[in-house]
Amino acid sequence: MVSGDTQYVVETFGLTKVFADWWGRSKVIAVDDLNVKIRRNEVFGLLGPNGSGKTTTLKMLLSLLHPTKGRALVLGGDSSDPKINAHIGFLPEESYLYRYLTAAETLDFYGRLFGLHRRVRQERIGALLEMVGLQGAANRQVGTFSKGMQRRIGLAQALINDPDLLILDEPTSGLDPIGTRQIKDLILQLARRGKTILLSSHLLADVEDVCDRISILYGGKVRIEGKVGDLLRRRDQDQILTSKLSETALEQIRDIASRENATIDISSPMDKLESFFVNVVAQAQKEAHATSGAISTTGISGFLAEEKPESLLDELVAGSVVAADEGEERPATEKVEVAEIQPQVDKGLLQDLSVAELKREESPERVDKRKPAEVEPPKVDKGVLDELTESPEKKTDAAGEDRDE
């Protein structure tokens, strides 16, 4: 557990990493005097182009690399201390898995490293495999998995200890849009449960959707750091969203704008491609198209959703987490089965995202833990969509400026 007097979950002091060759020459300054402070229950994004020092920073936080100068405190201590890293979950940039182990064995192995009791391990493995949609592939060797499936197992292993701090290195790389979406939803849901999440990415849309605060790295140095909302808000413009208006109403609005000497541009909002794609797949699933492969769910695993982490083990042992659905045969290839997802980043909506999976669920305990299924087709919340379609430009601008420096 995080000690109560620690203000920051992650804190670095002049963290510097210089890579030297064998003779100590031709040095590369990968990370240069980095000072980052991440508060508890924050989703913090480390952004930057390739080679900007994101992964090196994470590796130093995890004691996989030793800092050349400075130091890093993680959960108030040194991350190589087993007492500290028992509360850390880490997903590396690629899921480096033991190819000869099956999905279930992989999770069992990591569970054992945390000294989890057999019963707890079994419960969590079932729950996590279900959460990442691989319960049908539990007994397949992970070496035969597609990259996306491996990524899912990688994520599951990072969560097996119900970590307080989750460090994700490019969590969405290699995932299809739906997998990406699920990871983002999961991050938000974990954040709501009080976890601290540090992620690195160069996929800006992903970061923007989930992060509270970001830090943009370039050449190992922090270029800018702040709250996502503050950084991206255009203070010189206003945006009004309405349902469909008549021509006369639009005319009046134009008049008002011209009286204020403001420029005005009226158009129908565009759907975001991600939302559009997710909806198409959701629709296909609703029509019960034959699918094959792994199941994707958006529900959070029972033990991770538990409000009081202390009672987690008890609850798991009590058997409140439902084992993976064994009634269904899962063919080999990766299948994507989608819940209804509303294209909105609102945390309140996340509970609705496990719909499709829940519909198949018969166990009452399981349904108790989640919101009931919604049956009606997805509605597009235009207000949110507008916000989303608006932001990519801004994002691009920000990134562009950064690169010019």
């Binding site: 995890l62 087993p82 007492k83 490293l113």
Partner: protein, 456 residues
């Protein structure tokens, strides 16, 4: 402990599923029965058993040694190369625990494989006499007394004080008669004299005789047998390479009151081929009650200038002191000690070397350790500059285990008693001192290593 066992289990799965173990199992499953059927040695049942056990154990030992080196280095380097170590060491596992787990995993697999193979060799060996069918009583007797048993072996004691005295005397005499000898460094001259004197103690001139005295010979009972095992070397070839010799065996012994008890004395005249090991069986009553026992050999061949009994296997006295089963078990433990050392070495090398380099270094150690005696001897024998290499090379050899010196198959083939004391000595020296030092060095290096650092 949980984490260590988790890593060990993972290592066992890895070894099994990358089929490394399977390949070795198949090799041995095919080779061992073939060997038991087609290796006939010198044609006798004894020769057949000796050849099978010798080659079977050597093959097992060699294959398992290679297996251990490969698996113990691969299980660590693959973790680093394939980067699973990122998710391993960021879990509550110390690097010590990780390396301990890897080691235990390899040791468990080794133990299973060794039990499998040594067990098969044992079962085949004890059953070969039954399958071979009709053999003469004499052959069967030979197998019972010279193979399916464990015998204590005694070597003639070389009186080094006496030799040293003789060396000093002859040196003084030589220098007196020929002052030019003073130009030769005294150490070298004396060394040569010493060897000459030692050789004299093992050599018999035509018509001459040689006497060996043995003490502390303790056969299990009066009805047991005592074996005199010997080999000749001849300086000049005879026509049929045989040597005619006359042997006397016996002792004088005294009872508590000091009266002399006469024990039987045996005499035999034999014509034996040179450069071949022979055994003479004698009733145990030939040994005195105090365990003293003497042998006299007279050379009866006049056409051979000198007969020499070579130092290593030229002369020894053997008597039963244990069972074949017990000896086989102890031999297997010595083999396991060898594998344990190699596992410790492999894990240690893999903490700082890449897979190919670690494997190569491991193999170099295996082969050097297998001929450590030869290396030490060849360097000490070389005069001049190479002689100065002796100390550093011997220092290095001290760090290596002596696989050739503690080769269980040589004990089993000659049915020589491998004592628990020796087994313990091998375990302590090979595993708990040399192996553990290497392994702890590996842990030290690994604790300081940046596992995510890319080494090209």
């Amino acid at each position: 402990m949980n984490s260590i066992w988790a890593v060990a289990r993972n290592t066992i799965s890895q070894t099994m599923r990358i089929k490394a173990a399977v390949v070795f199992v198949i090799l041995l499953v095919v080779l061992l029965p073939l060997m038991s059927m087609y290796m006939v040695g010198d044609g006798t049942l004894l020769g057949r058993l000796q050849t099978f056990v010798s080659y079977g154990l050597s093959l097992t030992s060699m294959l398992l040694s290679l297996f251990t080196i490969v698996v113990s280095t691969y299980t660590v380097t693959s973790e680093i190369d394939q980067r699973q170590i990122y998710t391993l060491v960021t879990k509550p596992v110390t690097r010590f625990q990780m390396l301990a787990g890897k080691l235990i995993g390899v040791l468990v697999v080794d133990a299973v494989l060794l039990v499998l193979f040594a067990g098969s060799i044992y079962l085949m060996a004890v059953n070969i006499p039954r399958f071979v069918g009709a053999v003469s009583m004499e052959d069967e007797m030979k197998v019972q007394t010279q193979f399916l048993t464990a015998r204590t072996s005694l070597y003639p004691v070389i009186d080094s004080v006496q030799i040293e005295r003789e060396v000093e005397e002859s040196y003084a005499r030589l220098v007196k008669s020929d002052p030019t000898l003073r130009d030769i460094p005294p150490q070298r001259a004396k060394e040569q004299l010493r060897r000459q004197k030692e050789l004299e103690k093992r050599a018999v001139a035509p018509g001459g005789q040689l006497v060996w005295n043995f003490a502390n010979v303790k056969p299990l009972g009066e009805d047991e047998l005592i074996f005199v095992r010997f080999k000749y070397e001849v300086s000049v070839e005879t026509g049929d390479s045989t040597v005619l010799g006359r042997w006397y065996f016996g002792t004088y012994t005294k009872d508590e009151s000091g009266a002399r008890i006469t024990r039987p004395i045996y005499a035999v005249e034999r014509n034996d081929a040179a450069r071949t090991v022979h055994e003479i069986a004698l009733p145990a009553s030939v040994v005195g009650l105090d365990g003293n026992f003497s042998i006299v050999f007279q050379s009866a061949t006049s056409n051979i200038p000198t007969i020499v009994f070579p130092l290593e296997d030229g002369f020894q006295v053997l008597y039963r002191s244990g069972t074949f089963q017990g000896n086989f078990l102890r031999g297997s433990i010595v083999l396991y000690a060898r594998l344990a050392f190699l596992a410790l070495l492999g894990v240690s090398l893999a903490t700082w070397l890449s897979f190919p380099v670690a494997i190569l270094s491991g193999l170099v150690v295996v082969f050097t350790a297998s001929i450590s005696g030869f290396i030490a001897e060849s360097i000490s024998d070389t005069p001049g500059l190479a002689g100065y290499l002796y100390l550093p090379v011997e220092g290095l050899l001290l760090l290596l285990p002596k696989f050739d010196k503690y080769n269980p198959s040589s004990y089993l083939v000659s049915a020589r008693m491998l004592t628990w004391a020796l087994v313990l000595q091998v375990l302590v020296a090979m595993v708990f001192i040399k192996g553990l030092i290497l392994w702890l060095f590996g842990v030290y290096v690994f604790n300081r290593r940046e596992v995510a650092k890319v080494v090209v």
